[in-house]
């Protein structure tokens, strides 16, 4: 407990690093994967290749990816950009499939109705498809968020530190408290991000959350 108090500045420092490192891949991964999935859904061939692409991307072990990115990107080896890019790749891998499913699961009769009312392609995408796929997209983003926040810690193995620092140091010093604090802080961040996303969802998609009991058509 004493350790916790003495080191709270360091914990806060790494927690902040951790959040900063996580935000970017979550956002960028989503921004890339959502339109890509929507485009790919349009054609049978590209649609099925989404699944192949994302399972291959997801199978890349994180460590070597982190090691090789500096060579590919011509960045320095301790540059956080490496881990940002790696995590973005995983985020895209997860998000591609779930976004593809999200768009496919839209009730076709609503799309049909939108067509019949004279929506153009862009307006239909932003006003109908995106909002209707919204709750499933959000579910996907929440998975991405949790997984990214957990993966950030792997960066500690190559010297890009986050709360993962405490795992390695605690392991070396046979100091479980330090590790558990790191785990708890990571989980808290994951929970925090998840709640923020859930609240965003509630604000942006009120129609999913207001369910007054349906009036029975009696009169």
């Amino acid at each position: 407990m004493n350790w916790l108090i003495l080191n709270c500045a360091q914990i806060l420092h790494y927690a902040l690093q951790h959040m900063l490192l996580s935000v970017f891949p979550i956002l960028l991964g989503t921004l890339v994967a959502v339109p890509l999935a929507r485009l790919a859904n349009g054609f049978r061939l590209t649609r099925s290749s989404i699944y192949v692409a994302s399972s291959v991307l997801y199978a890349i072990p994180s460590l070597p990816l982190l090691i090789f990115l500096p060579a590919l990107l011509r960045t320095k080896i301790l540059n956080p950009v490496n881990i940002e890019v790696a995590l973005t790749i995983y985020a895209i891998a997860i998000m591609l499939t779930s976004a593809s499913h999200a768009f496919l699961s839209i009730d076709p009769s609503v799309i049909h109705a939108a067509d019949a009312m004279g929506f153009g392609a862009w307006k239909k995408f932003f006003q109908v498809e995106l909002p209707l796929a919204g709750s499933q997209l959000l579910a996907g983003i929440r998975v991405v968020s949790v997984s990214t926040i957990s993966l950030v810690t792997v960066g500690s193995l190559i010297g890009v530190n986050s709360l993962g620092f405490f795992f390695l140091e605690g392991y070396q010093r046979d100091f479980p408290l330090e590790i558990w604090v790191g785990i708890a802080a990571t989980a808290l961040i994951a929970l925090l991000f998840d709640q923020i996303l859930a609240i965003c969802g509630r604000v942006l998609m009120p129609w999913n959350h207001r369910r007054v009991t349906r009036e029975r058509s009696a009169a």
Binding site: Y58, L63, P64, S150, F167
Partner: protein
Amino acid sequence: MNVFSQTLLWLGDASNWEGTGGISVRLVQHMQYSLATLAITCVIAIPLACYIGHFGRALFVIPVINALRALPTLGMLSALALIFGLGISAPMIVMVMFAIPPVLAATYSGIANVSQTTTHAMRAIGFSEWQILWNVELPTAFPAILGGIRSAFTQIIATWTVAAFLPVGGLGRFLIDGLAIRDYSQMLGASFLVIGLSIAVDVLMLIVQNTIERHSRYSQLTTQS
């Protein structure tokens, strides 16, 4: 790139494949670990999901299990390694922990998605609860369950590499040991092996899935729609 040709050399060098720390041994170890993880996961997750999905009871388990995903793999490995010491138990527990959510979720949603009308109808014509589960829900949820197992399996194969941060075998050894001495060709070679392994497993399971479907006209019907 030079490192690619070196990687090919590393993979092609027969001496790298032999011996206790050789590629063959590591590859087999990796498969053994992964299969064991998958088996334990299924034994835990599928019955649990069936129970929750069918009876609609203990629903809180689903978000709790999903919350497991928020625990960082590396941290859990370190923490449990200090508790369990050397050996396979610590990483195995961690891997199972992370494989359970996808299998549980897929099975649960597969079962819970079986139309209420159908289960209601079955109950109404005199099926007992177990008969409903066995005759209707499991067969209907089967493709979903298989899908969950498939994605869990590839995930397991990829994640076991991180476990090599602890003194265990498997292909991750090449990655962690290679990292310490910056042996690029070894790391890249092992990555190819891991990716290849998980694609092979994925394709294999896809073939299994397709074979089952081809022999059952029913699942063809459901996958078409």
